[in-house]
């Protein structure tokens, strides 16, 4: 993100980026629910200037949609906090008010069944803004979710997340929307992990955001937004291998690094005797792997049409690709060391 801001001569957005980081810290480290709400509001206010670009009509429309949905969720959150404080003075987590508070936080994250804004907005943002939306913006709602959640409601939400994330991406050709649905599916895994422990969630979240970063930086450097663009580029061999490894890793296939967080979450699922839920986790993961493999067909097949008019100028940006290739390939070896 820094890289993008610095290269595009847009350093006035650095200010908003710093406020974005601080807003999440305010939200998760406050002693009172009001502080959480304030953090969420500052988060919204600082993210809007990052994504809106007055020269581009699509990004203005996207930022307006984002503002409307997120402020609705924030108002709902504030209202539920006030009801909880003034009318219900209990600490029991499994009641109706926790459902309402969790719903507003789930809407902030883009989790099902409040996910309808998410693919829409992701379609209107550039890749680096998408990266912030998919990773950083999920931190504070997740952690706030862990402070006061309703277990049965969240398990139902997890199932909806998994199913919508897997089935929604089947008919998409835009890479951004595909990653949006994959993000909704991974939200299911993350919500479960945060019900177990915050440490577990942090582990899953870090590995997930690292994998998303590698893929998004790859797509950003190649300027690819749609699936048909995967086939007409002159990708050299390491880029193809990198794409292959990243998507298979995100799908959770051994021997890549993405298998490890999924394995650990399955471990906790089975310890807590959620057998049917584990089955749903596995089967939706299979559907997700299907549409990831559709994306990486281009890297499986070594000879395809290479158009001569597509000139890939990558001379200044090779270091990022080399680094991410190295991380992807070495993560295979690292993941085997973890098991020993």
């Amino acid at each position: 993100m820094f890289f993008f801001i610095l290269t595009n001569n847009n350093s006035n957005k650095m200010f908003f980026l710093f406020i974005l980081f601080f807003s999440t810290l305010i939200s998760i480290s406050s002693n009172s629910w009001f502080g959480c709400w304030i953090g969420l509001e500052i988060n919204l206010l600082s993210f809007i200037p990052l994504i809106s670009n007055s020269k581009n009509l699509l990004s203005v429309e996207t930022s307006l949609k984002y503002f409307l949905t997120q402020s609705l969720a924030s108002i709902n959150f504030l209202f539920m906090i006030l009801i909880k404080f003034s009318l219900l003075k209990n600490f029991d987590m499994n009641n109706i008010i926790s459902i309402m508070m969790n719903s507003s936080l789930l809407m902030k994250m883009g989790s099902a069944p409040f996910h309808f804004w998410f693919p829409n907005i992701v379609e209107g943002l550039s890749w680096m803004n998408n990266f912030m939306l998919m990773t950083w913006q999920k931190i504070s709602p997740m952690i706030l979710l862990s402070y006061y959640f309703n277990k049965n409601f969240l398990i139902f939400m997890i199932i909806m997340n998994l199913i919508i994330g897997s089935l929604g991406g089947l008919n998409q050709t835009s890479l951004r929307k595909l990653l949006a649905f994959s993000s909704i599916n991974n939200l299911g895994w993350m919500i479960f992990s945060i019900m177990i422990s915050e440490n577990l969630w942090l582990f899953y979240f870090l590995i997930y955001s690292m994998m998303i970063f590698m893929m998004i930086s790859l797509f950003f450097l190649m300027n690819m937004y749609f699936m048909n663009q995967l086939f007409i580029n002159n990708m050299n061999f390491f880029i193809k291998l990198n794409l292959l490894i990243n998507f298979l890793s995100l799908g959770g296939l051994p021997p890549f690094m993405g298998f490890m967080p999924k394995w650990i979450i399955i471990n906790f699922l089975l310890i807590n005797k959620f057998y049917f839920l584990t089955f749903i986790f596995m089967m939706t993961s299979l559907i997700i792997i299907y549409y990831y493999i559709r994306i990486i067909y281009s890297s499986f097949m070594f000879n395809y049409f290479k158009m001569k008019w597509v000139n890939l100028l990558m001379k200044n940006n090779m270091s990022l690709i080399n680094l991410s290739s190295f991380i992807s390939i070495s993560s295979m070896i690292l993941s085997t060391f973890i098991f020993m």
């Binding site: 061999f237 298979l248 296939l253 051994p254 021997p255 298998f259 394995w263 399955i266 471990n267 089975l270 310890i271 057998y275 584990t278 089955f279 596995m282 089967m283 993961s285 299979l286 792997i289 299907y290 493999i293 067909y297 499986f300 097949m301 070594f302 085997t336 098991f339 020993m340």
Partner: protein, 450 residues
């Protein structure tokens, strides 16, 4: 045991240097000879180190996988001559060999699963990367999704076992008895899909036909045996449930084997015929493991090894024909004895082994399996008789169609023989006979044990 792993890992940089194609293949042969000289003890685990072990089943299957990988590289010489990404191909083969070696030799059940799944990725790359027809994409998807659909419940089962027994060491599992139906189904379903059993066998004809010769050889040779190895390991703590439920799998696989053998007669594609015959042989292997007597275990293990050698050899021969005539159809590949009479010797030897004619190792496996299945139930005699008869039938059918008769009039010209093929076939047959002698020796030991 670690020494072989490091030898394979250090062969990886060798794949990317110039003019190292044949050196890698020779190193694999060398490793095979080194591995053969490990101390072998039939009745226990040996060569235990930090996370590796070896017992008789692992030993044979690792030996088979190293052998087939070296033969794979020898058979794919055309990739080297045509300069078609052979560096990455070598890396793929070595990576697949490492994954297979680790699958058969780790002590931990979860690590077994990890490498079991990991061996799918290079296979997928082999099929889609170096295959010949556009249908290979669908074949790759079928392979990946059938096996993943089976093995994700296996992961659930393994983690459940870990939470229940607090151990994952394969050796300690024999002290436990997990008497749960759902666990049983989830554990063995992965291996039944991989074997493959009749109802879930659809991936196999597609994957075998669309794969290049190296992919077909490794699929038929080893990947099917991963399922058998898994079943042999997992059955140890599932014996009680298996005794109640094994009739389902035995009946499905035997009747399915019968149907598949009959379907072999309808095939026009040579590789498709060999692929379906693999399913028929593996159906008997499943039957042998599921009845859970000693002859069944031994028979299935011997049939796995011999089928691995035999099927890989036949795919290699089919590829020899394909490279010269550019067709796998039986209509075009007829009357080859007129052009390559010495080739008909190899076809005959491998196809006679496929039909379990004496003195091949397949005969030993089939005799043991027939013995074990008939001791389980007399009615299986009918099915086994028909499966064996039809396997003789389609092997003879393939042989007579390819070799005898008038040759296809549309042939123009092709080169007849190529010296390195001699080595492949000679080595395949020598390994056959060597295993033959070992096999009959063990048979003698087993008989004396009784």
């Amino acid at each position: 045991m670690m020494k072989f792993l490091f030898m394979m890992i250090f062969m990886i940089p060798l794949c990317f240097m110039k003019n190292m194609f044949w050196l890698v293949q020779m190193m694999l042969f060398f490793m095979m000879f080194l591995f053969m000289n490990l101390n072998l003890n039939i009745m226990c685990f040996f060569n235990m180190s930090y996370m590796f072990y070896c017992d008789i089943i692992s030993f044979g299957l690792i030996l088979l996988s190293i052998w087939i990988c070296s033969l794979m590289i020898m058979a794919s010489e055309s990739l080297f001559k045509l300069n078609f990404y052979f560096n990455f191909f070598l890396f793929n083969v070595i990576f697949l060999l490492i994954m297979l070696y680790l699958t058969f030799s780790v002590l931990n059940l979860l690590l077994f699963y990890f490498f079991f799944e990991a061996s799918l990725i290079p296979t997928l790359l082999l099929i889609i990367g170096w295959g010949y027809q556009p249908e290979r994409i669908q074949a790759g998807m079928y392979l990946l999704f059938y096996t993943l659909f089976g093995s994700l419940p296996l992961l659930m089962g393994i983690v459940y076992i870990f939470n229940d027994l607090n151990t994952m060491t394969i050796y300690f599992l024999k002290f436990f008895n997990m008497n749960m139906y759902l666990l049983y189904i989830s554990m063995i379903f992965a291996f039944l899909v991989k074997m493959p059993m009749y109802f879930v066998h659809l991936w196999l004809p597609k994957a075998h036909v669309e794969a290049p010769v190296s992919g077909s050889m490794i699929l038929a040779g080893i990947m099917l045996k991963l399922g058998g190895y898994g079943l042999l390991r997992v059955m140890i703590f599932l014996q009680e449930v298996n005794l109640k439920l094994n009739y389902i799998w035995i009946i499905i696989s035997l009747v399915g084997g019968l149907f598949i053998s009959m379907k072999c007669f309808c095939q026009v594609d040579m590789k498709s015929l060999i692929a379906y015959s693999s399913v028929a042989h593996m159906s008997m292997v499943i039957g042998g493991i599921m009845v859970m007597n000693y002859w069944g275990f031994i028979g299935s293990y011997i049939l796995m090894i011999s089928h691995g050698l035999c099927s890989s050899g036949m795919f290699c021969l089919a590829n020899i024909n394909y490279e010269r005539l550019h067709s796998r159809s039986l209509y075009i590949n007829s009357g080859m004895m007129n052009f390559m009479p010495s080739m008909s010797l190899w076809w005959f030897l491998l196809l006679s082994s496929n039909m379990a004619a004496p003195p091949s190792l397949n005969l030993l496996g089939e005799i043991s399996l027939i013995n074990s299945l008939v001791s389980w139930s007399n009615i299986s005699m009918i099915l086994l008789m028909m499966i064996s008869f039809f396997s003789a039938g389609y092997s003879l059918y393939l042989y007579s169609y390819i070799q005898h008769g008038k040759y296809f009039q549309g042939l123009y010209s092709f080169y007849v023989w190529f010296i390195s093929w001699v080595f492949i076939i000679i080595f395949a047959l020598i390994s056959f006979k060597y295993d033959n002698f070992k096999g009959w020796f063990y048979f003698y030991l087993i008989l004396n044990k009784k």
